[in-house]
Symmetry: C2
């Protein structure tokens, strides 16, 4: 319950990837596209654009219907899974998110956990000078991104985690077990946020808001995600509920 929370917070930070022509998509998925139907540069009285995208482009939320034929669709997602306190955790393993590292974190039932992995920095190499940099947009799809193992997904379900977020386009691997990781999490009641840009945030506790578009009957939706860090020892006493 965010309503039980108060305290002092930092500024809102945007954890969303930019949607734009040429952005990296999951291999095989059609591209994101945008075009103006009415264009002031061509004499129109206003600008009006149309977009086309899969609901898994950029920062997005997966609902159970993505992998479970009778699962909930994205318009049925509880706001409580997507708004409230979240913990950004740094993963040190350079290959995958494994159970051993998760055990050291001290996961709790109902938590929202966002994994900041080497994905967040790996693809930023030599690109730090670019404006509006986003690790997903430049360059090609990285097949070797860091993802959850099947065992780690099972452990997250056992812990009763409410929401899991990751800093690349999937919680599951590209070459191995990607489908199985999704099925375990979605079947276990865990909401999945993929394509988060965590490159500019440090580990810690945050107030987190991820709002996917409300698309009737869809198995997921593009989303905007923001967070602001809980600053301990501030001028206000921090009184934050565990969840």
């Amino acid at each position: 319950m965010l309503s039980e929370e108060s305290g002092e917070f930092g500024e809102w930070e945007d954890l969303s990837v930019s949607l734009e022509d040429g952005m990296v998509m999951w291999p095989g998925d059609p591209p994101f596209s945008i075009g103006r139907i009415i264009d002031m540069e061509k004499g129109g009285s206003l600008n009006l654009s149309r977009i086309e995208l899969t609901v898994h482009a950029g920062t997005h939320v997966d609902s159970p219907l993505h992998y479970l034929q009778t699962g909930k669709s994205i318009d049925e997602a509880p706001l409580s899974a997507l708004i409230g306190r979240a913990r950004i955790v740094e993963i040190r393993d350079p290959e995958s998110i494994k159970t051993a590292e998760l055990r050291s974190i001290g996961l709790q039932k109902g938590q929202r956990i966002l994994f900041k992995t080497a994905n967040s920095t790996k693809h930023l190499k030599n690109m730090k000078q670019m404006k509006n940099i986003s690790y997903i947009n430049p360059g090609a799809f990285a097949e070797d991104f860091i993802h959850l193992t099947v065992e780690a997904a099972t452990y997250l379900v056992q812990c009763g985690v409410q929401t899991v977020g990751i800093d690349y386009l999937s919680v599951g691997g590209y070459k191995d077990d990607g489908d199985e990781v999704h099925r375990i999490l979605l079947g276990g009641g865990v909401w999945i946020i993929e394509g988060l840009d965590l490159s500019m945030v440090t580990p810690g506790d945050y107030e987190f808001i991820c709002l996917p578009l409300k698309i009737t009957g869809a198995e997921g939706a593009p989303a905007r995600a923001v967070a602001r860090k809980l600053i301990s020892g501030g001028s206000h006493k921090a009184v934050i509920a565990t969840i």
Copy 2:
């Protein structure tokens, strides 16, 4: 600054219209469409959907670029305009939002104001029993929806209001002055949220979050909007900054 706010709040309420086939669009705009590229009902191993829509479908944010050739695009919108305290005001005039009624409200510089008009209930008539009712989805476009007059738009700019929201597809009228109302607000530094579903919320002060998709260079974006009411006299002392 939301960071200066605390207090007791009600539950989060969804102020977003559902995006779905057949939903009402601005006349002349192409329809919203959704289709599955991969479908479990057809033997696919997962469900994967693609959507196509104008960036002004359903609940959405207009940025200055919508009407001003050198105006800011939606990815440049400050989060502060879209997250924080907002006031939901009930408009009694059955035709339009006029300056006289706005004067009685006591508007303040920097405020986020959401206008709940007869739009919110008018198109719900005889449809209250339907599941997931949304005033914009059923039926056809209502040409006579309640909107701001040119004078009222000018007054809002004079007051220095930060953000204006309305419960139909445009802040400006369909037959008269719609373009001019947009130009006045966007040129005057006011951010516009259109297509809000305010049918289930009562007037008052809220914590408000409206997150549009981050689309590079677009003149607007579809958004998800939620709010929770500030409950005065609660167990926590309400300490809310004016803005």
